[in-house]
Amino acid sequence: MFGTVNLTVKVHPVVLFTIADSYERRPEGGNRVIGTLVGNVDKQCVEVTNCFCIPHKEHEDKVEADIAYAQEMFELNKKVAPHETIVGWFATGNEITSHSALIHDYYARETKDPIHLTLDTTLSTGRVNMKAYVFVPIGVPRATSGSMVTPVKVQMTASEPEIAGLDLLHKTKHSKTRLVEPVPELTKIADAADKMENMLDIVIKYVESVLAGREEPDSTVGRALVNLVQSVPKMDPVKFEAMLNSNLRDLLMVIYLSSLTKTQLQLNEKLSMVSVNNIREMSKFLQIE
């Protein structure tokens, strides 16, 4: 392999969701959807933060894509997210066709070195495969030249809030109707505690089976276990008790104060309405005079 491209592509989850949604909404008879990817380029890393779909039709030997649409959508996107630039394009499906080369040519005119992302929404391999490519020019100088489609490393990335959102969305996999309600905070903590308990159970079972000789000990797992146990900070039990209690007291006091505030608000509301009534009675008394 010559000239491996040293590039990483980082994709945010919202991009994949948009691609899947566009695939579901494709016009009748269409096999795949294409669209523009926008994001940021930074040295060896291309970060894809958003995308939008473009209407297109594929015939035997040519491709029709609504370029005006693509440009207009990009302009609209720029108004809301001025720091995003075109970084490439996506297509659903699992293969690179000759049409892809044509489409890539167009994008090569829009931006330097566009990347091509494919998302296999047709589940041809039983999984939703995500691959990224760059088109590397090859050929004999001054003679035939073409592009070689080179795969590049692609990985998912997400910010903390996006992960919090994904956590919530993961729950729809387990529900028959694919519905989930936003969970209140306390439930989320309880769920996390349950998860931790389950994970600890699995680890303990593994340790016990290693000690009983049923499984081969693995040193990396062992080192990870040592790290885990040591990550609990060592504190003097008296001091820890004191810190825990003072924190709890603070939180309880704040809860008490906030419920006090709520009651006060209600009283305030009622009293001001009472005085309004009062005034009205007095002026009525005046009118009668």
């Binding site: 939703v128 996006e162 609990v232």
Partner: protein
Amino acid sequence: KIELVQIDGLVLMKLIKHCHEAERSGSLFVQGALLGLVSESRLEVTHCFPFMALGDDSQDDDEFQLTMLRRLRQMNIDHQQVGWYQSSQFANFLSLTLLESQFSYQTSIEESICLVFDTAKTAQGFVSLKAYRLTGETLKLVKEGDYSADNVKENNISYESLLTEVPIVIKNSYLMNALLLELQEQLPLQVGGSQFLDLGTSGTLETQLRVMMDSLDELNSECLKFNKHQQIVLKQIQEKNKYIQKRAQENKQRIDRKEDPLPAEDLNKLFKPIPPPSRMNPLILSGTIQNTSEEVSEFCSQSMAKLFITEPLQAAKASAASSSQ
């Protein structure tokens, strides 16, 4: 009558992206449109797009929205607007502009909702999404535009009945579920996801309590204003009373002396009616304080839960240390 709001997983991810990106670049309040359809008592939100930053040119905004809707329609995306969304930090979204915007949405599209997305809470790791609609009484109040205390009392509006909350469910299609399975494997562990287990509480508590204190101070000054107004009106009524009685007495004396009674004078010209202060601000402040105190209670209860979780871990560590000695 909308009883349930169903939101696509895609919309949630887009909301997170837009609101958090905007927060990072400094603008605290961002807004956008919600698109979808209405089926019986269920409002389905299938897509959303952000509005341009609140600039000076509102005509540009309209054009932006129209172009966006037209383009999305070409891609078979629902182009009916069913509401709008706004970002907020710790429940500080209640304001007169919010009520008025929601009013204009609800009068043009009856089923529209206002989705409030809390960026501060999501940054902590808890997705916070709430859907609100104006109650019938609030609709009437905003339409009349008369926010005096009398009108508010007339319509029986309290700060709790300004908005109704509509329950939300989030829905994913089968393809999305498959995608989620893939994401679960692909997302590297180092990316995070344990933010919500953070034990630190003082930073958030301080900000929230400070917000509450400021709102309470403002509410206090509004109350004082209101009370003063009531006192002035009361005094005016008493003076009017005295004047009428004096007049009546004088007239009686004149009639006794066989003179013409004095002409009746317009009381309103002598005693100018004092304009009442608007009740809208106190209502909004009370609503904000109510929301903030609920947020604070929720935050404290989950922090206490986390502290209780650390207790057995420490106990185990202490006993392990003592047993190894």
